[in-house]
Each structure stands twice: as structure tokens, then as C-alpha cells.
Subunit: 125 residues, 4 copies
Amino acid sequence: MDKLEQIKAQLQKFADDRDWDQFHSPKNLSMALSVEASELVECFQWLTEEQSQNLSPEQLSAVKDEMADVQIYLLRLATKLNVNMVEAVNQKIKKNALKYPIDKVKGSAKKYTEYEQPGLKKGEE
Amino acid sequence: MDKLEQIKAQLQKFADDRDWDQFHSPKNLSMALSVEASELVECFQWLTEEQSQNLSPEQLSAVKDEMADVQIYLLRLATKLNVNMVEAVNQKIKKNALKYPIDKVKGSAKKYTEYEQPGLKKGEE
Amino acid sequence: MDKLEQIKAQLQKFADDRDWDQFHSPKNLSMALSVEASELVECFQWLTEEQSQNLSPEQLSAVKDEMADVQIYLLRLATKLNVNMVEAVNQKIKKNALKYPIDKVKGSAKKYTEYEQPGLKKGEE
Amino acid sequence: MDKLEQIKAQLQKFADDRDWDQFHSPKNLSMALSVEASELVECFQWLTEEQSQNLSPEQLSAVKDEMADVQIYLLRLATKLNVNMVEAVNQKIKKNALKYPIDKVKGSAKKYTEYEQPGLKKGEE
């Protein structure tokens, strides 16, 4: 069995053992996932970009834990919605390749950030 | 090679092809990840919990795309910080098992939600 | 002087007294604001909608603190970007009135949630 | 009447006119608020801190709209939970003054960021 599928089974048992499954609606899991994503952001909020590339062992350990929490809730949600994450990612990478053609977006920060501007990204071109 | 490692290599190539690596500091990637997590929340914000368990094919497809985006930025960050996600998750599950012992947290919503109250969760017991 | 402007002045002094102004770039403040918004979400993530309408005094007190933190970072950002929040909100309400005309969106949850679907909301109609 | 109270009344009418009040449980409003906070983060995610201090008129206009959206949902939540934001902020500023005494936190980025480390901030000192 795939490693991610193994983890999904483990997490299901973890929730079952604690009677937590009842709280794990997709709506609630999306909230919990975004809370964990913000705890990850919190690790970086007052660091410079350069500092974020040179974390101390303690900082890296805290960051790893938050990354794991995001992954855990993502896999819980995947279980609930019957989603195979590897397949979903592969499909999305194909979509992104069409959305961001190399010759259109390659290059300067300016081009990149403009391409990502709210107005543009939301399909309001 | 592990499937997640394969995807990480694919995403690195995707970024390299577009000269985007320069924007992918851990700080920035944590921001992008949390933005995608919120796009996932957006799919569920006006749905009831029950509706969130019964998505239409269109809704599920939108949700899957957002889940994939979260996974993609998480793997980008894992590449940048040299983190193995499967190992990080396994370690975190062990920590969580100690933090939430079955006999202490099993049972009613009340106990569970109290256990998760800000004051308690932050280790202020 | 307007109450919000008074608070902005107080917060500026608070940051100056602690030499924190150097960390308060708009980028960093947006991160801190979103982290506080997630701490607010955390208060509600395992509650039902009904429970969220009937908070205990302790829960309400925790929620109030998180709401205050969101307001504080929003006002810090407003100071840094020279934005008058009352004006900005009044302008946005006018925009929203055009975007969501009563006769088009009034009524059932179904209409409302469809109107808020990612594809539609992003202006891709 | 206070300006914020005026806006709260306006927003209540806006929701009533559209029959949206039924969707505005505190739980759902916290989700919507955090989604708007992330749309604000999205404006800054690929900018350097310096660029975030020198926004173009178009960028500033987009940022202002997102700030207004955050303020709007915060005031909707304040209406639903009967919270006076000015009072809540004033109380929180007093708490923060005790939590972050000038002589303890003033000074270097290092001290500041350490003080804000997850472990410390969560009251685990």
C-alpha cells in the first residue's frame, strides 16, 4: 500500500479511538487545516526571507511540526472526500502548466508578480 | 523513488523552468500555502456541515484543486527545508498520541471541544 | 479626533516604545493579521453553527480577544499604508451593492452559495 | 452614533435585504473573515518587504479593498456577538502592555522574534 494511504488508515484509527470522527466534517477539517497553515505562517512572520532560509534547529523543528499538522488534516480531508492526493496533485500540475506557460511567465519578478496580481489571477483580465 | 519525492522533483523543475525559485523563500511559501488553505475554506464557508459531506461533482472538483494546491506548496516548502513529509507526519502522530491520550479525551463533544479551547491547547493547563 | 485614529496613534506609540516598527512592514503585518484571524477560526472550528451562537462567557472572552487582535493589526496596516478604514469600508459597501444586487442574490441558500462559488466569485462568469 | 456602529447598522441592512443573515453564524463569519485576511496576504506574498512599502496605486487600491472586507466581516461578527470593537481593542492593548513589558522586549530583532516563538507565545515558558 502507498505510504499516504497507510497514513490515512492510521489517522482514521486515531480519530476512531477518540470518537473524534463526528467532528471531522469536511467543513470543520478545512478550518482546522487553515489554522495549522497559519501556525506555520506564524513561525515566519517576523523573520526576513533570508532568515527563513537559515532556520536554527529549534525553529526548523517547530516548522516541521506545523508542516506535519497541515499534512495530517489534508489527509483527513482526503479520506472524508475520497480523494487520492497523488492523483489530485498530478492533475493540478498539468492544469498549472497550461495556466502558466513558460514563455509567458518566465523571467523577472515584475512579470511574475504582475501575473499573480489579484485582478489578473482571478480571471478578470 | 517515493511518489512524494517524484512530485517534489517535478515541482522543482516547474519552478526552475519559470525562474520562480527566487520567489520561493520559506517565508513566501508559507504565505502561499496559507492562501491556498483559505481558498479551500472558501469552498465550505457558507455550507452547512451536512452539505459539506454531500458535495456536487462540481464542488468536489473545485475542492480537489484547492487541496492539490495546498499539497503542492507544502511539498515546495519541504524541498526548500529538506523535510521528508512522511517522516515528519509519523513523528507528529507519535507526539499527538502522547498529547491526546485516549482515556483522557475520548467521548463527548463537550470534552473534546474543551480540550481544544485556546487556553488549554496552548499548553496553559 | 476619530476613535480609530486615536487607537492608531496609541498602537504607533506601543510599537515605537518597543522598537517594533522595524518589523511592521505591510507584508509582515498582513501575515500577523491572518494568523490572528485563524486564532479566531480556531475558537469555532469544532463547534456547530448553533453552538457558535451560544458561547459561554469564557468562550466569548477568548473570541473577543482574537477579534481585538485582528482589529489591532488591521489598524497597524492602515497606519503604514495611510488608509482611512471608515472611508475604505464605505467605498467597499458601495462596490458590494453593485456586485450583489438584491433581486439577483436574494433568497435561498442555494442561490447564495452558488453565487459564492469560486468560479463565479472570481469574476469568471 | 459612533461611526463603527453606523457601519454595523448599514451592514445589517445589507444582509437583511439579501436574506443573508441566515448564513451569518459566528462560525461562518470567522471563516469568511479569515478568507478575506488571506486575500490580503495574497497581495503581498511574492513582494519583498521593501516592495510592500512601495505599492503602486493599483496595488494599494486592491489592498484597500481586502482590508475593507476584513473590517466588514469583523464588524458583522461584532454585531452577532454584541461586541464593541473599540472597547475590545482598548482592553486588549492593556493586556498586551502587561504581556510585553518595554524593558523585556525592547530592542533587537532577535529578542523580538524569540519572544514571539510559538513555544513562548503560547504560554509554555
